[in-house]
C-alpha cells in the first residue's frame, strides 16, 4: 500500500530534521558559552570606563564648552537608528523583536515630525528595515565575514557613526539590540549613544577629586568617541549572546516538536500497518471459506 511507504518516508525525513535541529542546538550552546565569556571579559573595561565617564560628564557636562557628543547639537530633529541584528536566521523571534522595537521607535518619531535615518548592522535587520523604511535607509555594516567579534568591529561602526555626526547628518543616535537576560529571555533594548548619557552609579560615594592630565575637557573630548565605540562593542557582544541563546531555545523547541511529530507519525504508521494485516487476514480467511 502506497500510504505506508509515504508514512515511512515522512518519518525518516522528520528524523533527519530532528538530527539537524539537535546539532544546531548544540552548536548554539557552545557558541553561547563563548559569547558569554567574551561579554564577561569585556565587562571590567566597560564598567570602569562608564564610571570614569560619568564622573567626567558630571563635572564638565554643565558648562557651555561641553563637547557636542555629550551635550548634543541642541536639536533633536534628525534621529539615527542603529539597528543591530544577526547575520543568520533560524534564531526564533530574535530579529523580529529587535526590528519591531526599532520600527515602533521610528514610527513614533515620524509621527512627531522628526526625520529618521536608519543604519543597520547584520543582514537580517537590513532586509526587514529596508522593506518598511526603504527611503530612510542610509547604510549597512556587514559582519558576515567576521568569525570572532573584536573591538575593531565596534571601532569601524563607531567611526562610521561619528563621521556622520561630524558631517551633521543627525542629532541623536540610538542603538537597538537585544540585551541578554538568559537563554529564554532576551530583551530588545534601545540605548541612546549620542548625545551620550552616563548613569551615575546609585549610592556612589562622592567622587574622588582627580588631577587631570591634560585638562578635563581634553580628556573628555578624547574619551567620548571611545565611549561610543565601547557602547557599540558591548551592544555587539550582548547581541551575539542573545542571538545564540535565542537560537538555542528555538532549536530546542524544534527538536521537541520533531520528536512529537515522529511519535504521532509512528502511531499512525503502526495503525495502518495493522489495518493492512487485518485486511490481508480477512481476505485469506474468506478465500478459504469460499472453497
Amino acid at each position: 500500500m502506497a500510504n505506508l511507504k509515504d508514512l515511512k518516508n515522512r518519518i525518516e525525513s522528520v528524523k533527519n530534521t530532528r538530527k539537524i535541529t539537535k546539532a544546531m542546538q548544540m552548536v548554539a550552546a557552545a557558541k553561547l558559552r563563548r559569547a558569554q565569556e567574551a561579554a564577561e571579559q569585556s565587562r571590567p573595561y566597560t564598567e570602569r570606563f562608564n564610571a570614569v565617564m560619568a564622573g567626567l560628564a558630571a563635572s564638565v557636562g554643565g558648562s557651555d564648552s561641553a563637547p557636542k557628543l555629550l551635550s548634543g547639537t541642541g536639536k533633536d530633529d534628525v534621529h539615527l537608528l542603529v539597528v543591530m541584528t544577526s547575520e543568520r536566521g533560524l534564531c526564533g523571534g530574535f530579529n523580529t523583536n529587535i526590528a519591531k522595537k526599532a520600527r515602533g521607535h521610528a514610527e513614533s518619531l515620524l509621527a512627531a515630525g522628526k526625520t529618521v535615518k536608519i543604519l543597520t548592522v547584520g543582514k537580517k535587520g537590513r532586509d526587514s528595515m529596508k522593506r518598511d523604511f526603504g527611503q530612510y535607509y542610509v547604510g549597512h555594516v556587514d559582519l558576515s565575514d567576521v568569525k570572532r567579534l573584536g573591538y575593531v568591529n565596534a571601532q569601524d561602526i563607531a567611526s562610521d557613526v561619528l563621521s556622520r555626526f561630524d558631517a551633521s547628518e543627525f542629532d541623536v543616535a540610538t542603538l537597538f539590540y537585544a540585551k541578554f537576560q538568559n537563554v529564554v529571555t532576551q530583551i530588545p533594548t534601545a540605548q541612546q549613544i549620542i548625545p551620550a548619557a552616563f548613569e551615575q552609579e546609585e549610592g556612589a560615594e562622592a567622587a574622588t577629586l582627580y588631577d587631570y592630565e591634560p585638562s578635563e575637557e581634553a580628556i573628555l573630548a578624547d574619551l567620548l568617541p571611545r565611549a561610543v565605540a565601547t557602547a557599540i562593542f558591548s551592544a555587539l557582544l550582548e547581541n551575539a549572546a542573545s542571538e545564540q541563546g535565542s537560537r538555542m531555545s528555538a532549536m530546542d523547541n524544534a527538536t521537541r516538536n520533531a520528536g512529537d511529530m515522529i511519535d504521532k507519525l509512528t502511531i499512525q504508521y503502526n495503525r495502518s500497518r495493522q489495518a493492512v494485516i487485518t485486511n490481508e487476514l480477512i481476505e485469506i480467511i474468506s478465500g478459504a471459506e469460499a472453497l
Binding site: 573595561y45 570614569v52 573584536g150 582627580y210 587631570y212 580628556i219 578624547d222 571611545r226
Partner: protein, 138 residues
C-alpha cells in the same frame, strides 16, 4: 620593601593583568609618569607607548594604545583600547598600527579636520614606539 598597590590592565576584549605592584610607568599623552602607592588621584589619557610594571611578582611590559589610566585610592587601572604583552609584539602588529595611524593621518589631512594635529602626534608616537621596542617597520 616598598608599599604595593593594586594594578589592573584591561582592554575591551579581556583583562590582561591584575596584581600587586610597586610601581607602574605609564605613557601619558603629556609625558611618562610613574605611579607608586599613595600617588595623588589622577586621570590621564594614554599615548601609544610601553607601560612598565615593577612588582614583587616580577616585572612586566605591555604595549598600550588609546584609552586612559586612572590612579585612585583603590589602585591603578589602565584602560587601553589595545594592550599587548611586550613578548607578543611583533613586526606585523607594529606595522598594522603604524599603517592605521598613517591612514588616519592622511584622511584627517584631506578633510582638514581639527584633529589632524592629534592624529599626527599619534602617528609620531606609534613610530617612536617601534624605536623603543627595537622593531623596525620595514
Amino acid at each position: 620593601m616598598a608599599d604595593t598597590v593594586q594594578f589592573n590592565l584591561v582592554s575591551p576584549e579581556r583583562s590582561l593583568a591584575s596584581m600587586q605592584v610597586n610601581e607602574v610607568q605609564i605613557p601619558g599623552s603629556d609625558g611618562d609618569m610613574t605611579a607608586m602607592a599613595d600617588h595623588a588621584p589622577t586621570i590621564t589619557t594614554l599615548r601609544p607607548g610601553v607601560l612598565k610594571v615593577t612588582g614583587p611578582e616580577g616585572d612586566a611590559e605591555y604595549v598600550v594604545t588609546g584609552g586612559f589610566a586612572e590612579i585612585g585610592e583603590s589602585g591603578i587601572s589602565v584602560l587601553a583600547e589595545r594592550a599587548i604583552a611586550r613578548a607578543d609584539m611583533d613586526q606585523a602588529t607594529l606595522k598594522g598600527m603604524v599603517d592605521a595611524a598613517t591612514d588616519a593621518f592622511a584622511k584627517a589631512q584631506d578633510s582638514k579636520s581639527e584633529a589632524a594635529d592629534d592624529i599626527a602626534k599619534t602617528l609620531a608616537d606609534t613610530v617612536a614606539l617601534g624605536d623603543a621596542l627595537g622593531i623596525s617597520v620595514n
